[in-house]
């Protein structure tokens, strides 16, 4: 059984239909990529899964429960973390306080401190800057903080929205290395990316979205060599 299954999802912004009946599955331990152009609906799908946007119809089944039926703030405690597009770190809180916010639904203080130490190990830059306000960090550091903050809830699945956006090539490499290491530690990843080449090279399977519909799906390696994908998304 799939860990996360989206069935015939339809989402509207007012009268405009943004998602026109999308279905896909994420199995435990996989890295799944959702790729597509700007405005295809990738971010909307992630926001619907974590409850920030209501769906018109459809189901989002996660470990047997329909996420569309529970309030947004309760979703993270089910083991789903969301790294939003544009990082959205809390600029008026320090790096350390941002990480504490990531553990908002957890209560054991010593366990939380332990998770923070693990995050610092994964992101040594964050440890160096733990007392600094997040608003003063560079874009790359903010992305690391957003990912570290998501890991603070000890998620079973992480949804990542454009983690490489606006970063230098070296940092893009670093971000994808981190996604790889998150997968290795046993956490499932649902990755939304405009950088289709990088996303497909790291993912197990992928779905290609076009104006609210899934137009292609399959093994990431196969999609990487697919002529139409190459032409439309890889710029070859």
């Amino acid at each position: 059984m799939a860990m996360l299954e989206v069935k015939d999802l339809q989402v509207y912004y007012g009268v405009i239909q943004a998602i026109k009946g999308v279905s896909f599955k994420v199995n435990e331990g996989e890295v799944i990529a959702l790729i597509g152009a700007n405005g295809a609906g990738k971010t909307t799908i992630l926001h619907t899964v974590t409850g920030l946007i209501p769906a018109k119809t459809g189901e989002v089944i996660y470990e047997g429960i329909d996420l569309l039926k529970i309030p947004a703030h309760k979703i993270v405690s089910h083991g789903i973390a969301h790294v939003p597009e544009g990082r959205h770190v809390f600029s008026q809180l320090t790096v350390y306080e941002n990480l504490l916010m990531g553990a908002y639904t957890r209560s054991d203080k010593s366990e939380i401190e332990e998770t923070i130490e693990n995050v610092y190990k994964r992101f040594p830059r964050l440890k160096e800057r733990k007392g600094q306000y997040a608003g003063t960090l560079s874009g790359g550091e903010q992305q690391m903080l957003a990912m570290g903050r998501a890991l603070m809830s000890k998620p079973k699945i992480v949804l990542m929205d454009e983690p490489s956006m606006g970063l230098s090539p070296i940092l893009v490499e670093e971000v994808f290395d981190i996604i790889e290491s998150i997968r290795k530690s046993g956490t499932t990843v649902l990755l939304v990316e405009q950088n289709a080449k990088k996303a497909l090279s790291i993912a197990d399977r992928a779905y290609v979205l076009e104006t609210g519909n899934i137009v292609l799906e399959g093994d990431a390696a196969k999609l990487l060599n697919d002529e139409s994908v190459k032409k439309a998304y890889l710029g070859e």
């Binding site: 405690s77 973390a81 008026q92």
Partner: protein, 293 residues
């Protein structure tokens, strides 16, 4: 000597404004709305204290505690009934609703307590302090108001900075969606904010009516508006801003009353608001509204 005594009275009045301004500024920061009914919660608090002390003849401390509890419940109820259903409505609808709640509370008080102005008995029983051989007198109310204001500021700042709920409040005020993703219950956070603001309004009413004892259904409106000016002056959304704005406004009002014209004192206060909006629209400690992409 009289200048010093005016400044001290100004700080005392300003301390009351800053306690009221905290309610405005926290609600604005977290719920992104201007709760114009906030001043009327102060008036209700005044009537509760008046009723318990003067009508029922109970101890002032009991009266203040009961007022704090009832005002807290009133604040939560107002939010739940009037503002929560409008969470996704345009901000103008919420603003008009707040003005409606304000009129409702005023007329409700008029109906229950009558139209005649009541004379409030001070809840503070501290003797005046005479300094400099009797040339400088500091009222007992002032001796309580200023330290209490400082204690409230320190406690509130510590709560917001150090507690988990406080961090959740900062998170909601900065980025509501990101806070939801962390698991923060926004409705609960907003309700807590209204509870804190309204409890402080009750404290402010005890202090204010003890110094300025005339109490009627309209008594909350003017201090409410002035505290709003103080919040804007200091930078709306900022807790230390509310404190600084409130105290400066109190000093300006008292000095204006003493040296310029007692009739024009209120006009001077609003002139200050216009100046602040022209020179520094974000207020003294206001955050730059700047989006980092």
């Amino acid at each position: 000597m009289s200048f010093i005594s005016y400044v001290i009275r100004g700080i005392s009045l300003g301390s009351v404004y800053s306690i009221i301004a905290l309610g405005y500024t926290m609600v604005y920061g977290i719920a992104k709305m201007l709760n114009f009914a906030h001043g009327d919660v102060i008036m209700i608090g005044g009537f509760i204290i008046f009723t318990i002390m003067s009508t029922m003849g109970l101890n002032p401390l009991i009266a203040v505690i009961v007022a704090i509890i009832l005002c807290t419940l009133l604040g939560i109820t107002i939010e739940r009934i009037a503002y929560k259903p409008l969470r996704k409505a345009p901000s103008l609808a919420v603003l008009i609703t707040a003005i409606g709640v304000s009129y409702f509370l005023q007329n409700f008080a008029l109906l229950i307590f009558g139209a005649d102005t009541k004379s409030f008995t001070s809840v503070i029983n501290v003797p005046d302090l005479k300094l400099a051989g009797g040339n400088l007198t500091i009222a007992g109310e002032t001796l309580v108001t200023i330290p209490l204001c400082i204690i409230i500021m320190i406690a509130l700042t510590t709560f917001v900075k150090k507690s988990k709920t406080g961090r959740g409040m900062v998170a909601v005020s900065e980025d509501r969606d990101a806070a939801i993703l962390m698991g923060v219950n926004v409705n609960r956070t907003i309700a807590i904010t209204f509870a804190i603001g309204s409890a402080l309004a009750a404290v402010a009413s005890a202090l204010m009516f003890s110094s300025y004892p005339s109490l009627s259904s309209a008594s909350g409106a003017m201090p409410g508006i002035k505290a709003f000016v103080a919040a804007v002056f200091g930078g709306i959304g900022s807790i230390p801003g509310a404190m600084i704005g409130g105290i400066l406004l109190g000093i300006i009002e008292i000095l204006g009353r003493a040296y310029i014209s007692s009739q024009l004192a209120d006009a001077i206060v609003f002139f200050v608001l216009i100046l602040v909006l022209l020179i520094k629209p974000t207020g003294i400690l206001g955050k730059q509204i700047q989006e980092k992409v």
